[in-house]
């Protein structure tokens, strides 16, 4: 068991959930609320020093009783130690977590992919839109367990929707000032733009 777990419990107390060990790796469950605080502590505390984010992903189980987990793989390069942090989300509830892009910029595309594949929203992400499927993809979130392998629509309908997409569409919040694709945006993106959320990606450090 990674000693960081004890250090976490000493610092954060009850917000740290259970800790497990699987195949030699340590997994610690954290509540959704203090997640960013916990991860920032893990990154910034000198004794912990998890300066490298290996991966961000999500897992949905076949067992309908189990929650959907968002998994963060952390690594301390200097100490050569890994830690896995998981947040459990209720699949029937709101799938939203705080974004860790302010902590590790590598999480940018990784969180976009989790959003694309699972529908988990990352609050505070500078530019949360689909990355692997096209922006107007209407079938749903592919890696969810209720999404069938061959998709929800018939093949002909999938071909028709694919051919109807504009290959030159510009959909990022950065590109829109220059391009003219506003009409084709999905409604929730139009809403974000109307409210003035312009994702300027800050390259700090």
């Amino acid at each position: 068991m990674n000693p960081s777990v004890d250090a976490l419990r000493a610092t954060f107390g009850n917000t740290i959930g259970r800790a497990e060990e699987s195949c030699g790796d340590t997994i610690v469950y954290v509540a959704r609320g203090p997640l960013r605080e916990v991860l920032a502590w893990l990154r910034d505390t000198p004794e912990q020093g998890y300066d490298y984010l290996v991966d961000v992903t999500a897992v949905e189980y076949r067992d309908r009783e189990r929650p959907l987990e968002v998994v963060y793989f952390l690594r301390s390069l200097a100490r050569r130690v890994d830690l896995r942090v998981k947040v459990e989300l209720d699949p029937s509830g709101e799938l939203a977590v705080d974004s860790v892009v302010p902590l590790w910029r590598g999480a940018d595309w990784l969180e976009r992919e989790v959003y694309d594949m699972f529908g988990v929203t990352f609050r505070g992400h500078p530019d949360l839109r689909r990355i692997l499927m096209w922006e107007t993809y209407a079938e749903g979130y592919p890696l969810r367990k209720d999404f069938p392998l061959r998709g929800r629509f018939s093949r002909a309908e999938q071909v028709r929707q694919a051919l109807a997409a504009n290959p030159e569409a510009h959909y990022s919040l950065e590109e829109l000032p220059i391009a003219e694709a506003f009409d084709e945006l999905p409604p929730e993106m139009k809403e974000r733009l109307r409210k003035g959320e312009r994702g300027k990606v800050p390259y700090s450090e």
């Binding site: 300066d51 290996v54 390069l77 990022s172 990606v201 450090e205």
Partner: protein, 428 residues
């Protein structure tokens, strides 16, 4: 005519005296590009590069905002090769996923096979035999060489040098011959199985690898002679697309991208697998993090891979190839046809698949592109609940927009080439 030798003095030890990874002090190369001016007159162009484009190394789409020839912003769009690998993996047995792993990073298929097999074996608690271990090292290092050769060939084409492409692909053909000798396929090898390999190497294989290790350095020296001190090459790659070590770590880069920025991290030294701690090799660390350093790092990594290959074939032990567990490894066909028990094992494995215990495992290996991680979650059945590929090219590509701003359009091509992406892995 005097011969000049070029020494690539790049190999630095991975750790310093205290055992911590060494950090090479970073100094940016001179001649930074002029800063972009704000677009007052509204004259910036928005051009679309790709997804079908010779220089994007696959189906990558770059939307570039240009001020004349200078890149103000570049926004990469990926997903044009999204094939639903991870979804497909949830519907396949563990051994049926191995052919899928060939097709993610199709430039180094054997290394992907090994990465997945290691994760599945960690999940199931299987320990492979010594012979299998050494053969997997051979597979990984051969994959490293062919991947870097593709990178070298296509990058030099992008920057205008056509001949190294032909030399590099000729070397690849020689490794393809070895791969075909072993697995029957040039590219989609599917060489590993959970608990072992698909087949043992044929008799000529070891001699073939030895011959390759003896003659490959000559090609490397040729390529080095043509490119490394070439004024055009140096002019187009030095000072272009530089990243500091802190930026590289914060962006979760891995592989040559990370090491070229001066961060001495290599999973083969930090978290050794397959017995890499027993091999004598150096990890290659750059200094400035620009395109030129990435080129030097990859070139020297080919030489180091060659070195490991030579050691591996010398120490290849005799003995069994696969673990002796009949629940995991298919029995030989002759036994399956004649012995009832073996037939039952064969039947169960093929029809039901090998069941993994409940749990999860993550294994990251040092792929040519970076850290290829495989995360497997099992609920006790023969098909994983979740198969996650931690894609090095995907994460390395996300830093493209930062690297390219303020450079020229032709530098953007060089920077894009230096990231060494393979879209099969970026999009999965």
């Amino acid at each position: 005519m005097t011969k000049r030798t070029v020494e690539l003095a790049l190999a630095t030890p991975g750790t310093d005296a205290r055992g911590a990874p060494t950090r090479v002090p970073l100094a940016l190369a001179p001649a930074a590009a002029p800063a972009a001016e704000p677009d007052v007159a509204g004259e910036h162009m928005l051009i679309n590069l790709g997804p079908q484009h010779p220089a994007t190394h696959g189906v990558l789409r770059l939307v570039v905002e240009l001020d004349g020839e200078m890149v103000v912003r570049v926004i990469p769009h990926v997903g044009y090769l999204h094939s639903g690998f991870e979804k497909l993996g949830e519907y396949r047995h563990y051994n049926q996923i191995i052919p899928l792993t060939d097709r993610t990073d199709y430039l180094s298929p054997m290394a992907n096979n090994v990465g997945f097999a290691l994760a599945a074996e960690k999940l199931m608690g299987i320990e492979i035999t010594p012979r299998c271990t050494v053969l997997r090292v051979i597979a990984c290092e051969m994959s490293r060489i062919i991947s870097h050769m593709v990178w070298l060939g296509t990058t030099s084409i992008d920057l205008g040098a056509f001949t190294p492409f032909l030399w590099a692909f000729q070397e690849r053909e020689r490794i393809y011959n070895l791969q075909e000798m072993w697995t029957g396929a040039r590219l989609t090898t599917s060489v590993t199985r959970v608990g072992g390999m698909m087949a043992d190497v044929p008799d000529d294989f070891v001699e073939g690898v030895r011959h390759f290790t003896r003659t490959f350095p000559k090609t490397l020296a040729e390529i080095d002679r043509v490119l490394t001190r070439n004024a055009v090459w140096v002019g187009r790659t030095q000072g272009v697309g530089a990243l500091t070590a802190a930026e590289a770590i914060n962006h979760s880069l891995s592989g040559p991208m990370l090491r070229a920025s001066g961060v001495a991290v290599d999973l083969r030294k930090d978290k050794p697998y397959l017995g890499y701690e027993t091999y004598d090799f150096d990890i290659v660390v750059g200094e400035h993090g620009d395109v030129y350093d990435r080129y030097l790092v990859r070139l020297e990594e080919c030489a180091q891979a060659n070195r490991i290959l030579a050691q591996a074939v010398d120490r290849l032990p005799q003995g069994p190839l696969n673990v002796a567990d009949p629940r995991v490894i298919l029995p030989p066909k002759s036994r399956a046809m004649n012995d009832m028990e073996a037939m039952i094992y064969h039947f169960k494995q093929v029809m039901e698949g090998v069941k993994a215990p409940v749990g999860e495992a993550y294994v990251g290996i040092e792929n040519p592109k970076g850290e290829l991680g495989t995360y497997l979650v099992s609920d006790g059945t023969a098909k994983p609940v979740r198969w996650r590929i931690r894609p090095p090219s995907f994460i390395n590509l996300s830093v493209l927009s930062k690297m390219a701003e303020g450079h020229l359009l032709s530098d953007l091509i060089a920077i894009n080439a230096s990231v060494d992406i393979v879209m099969g892995e970026v999009d999965r």
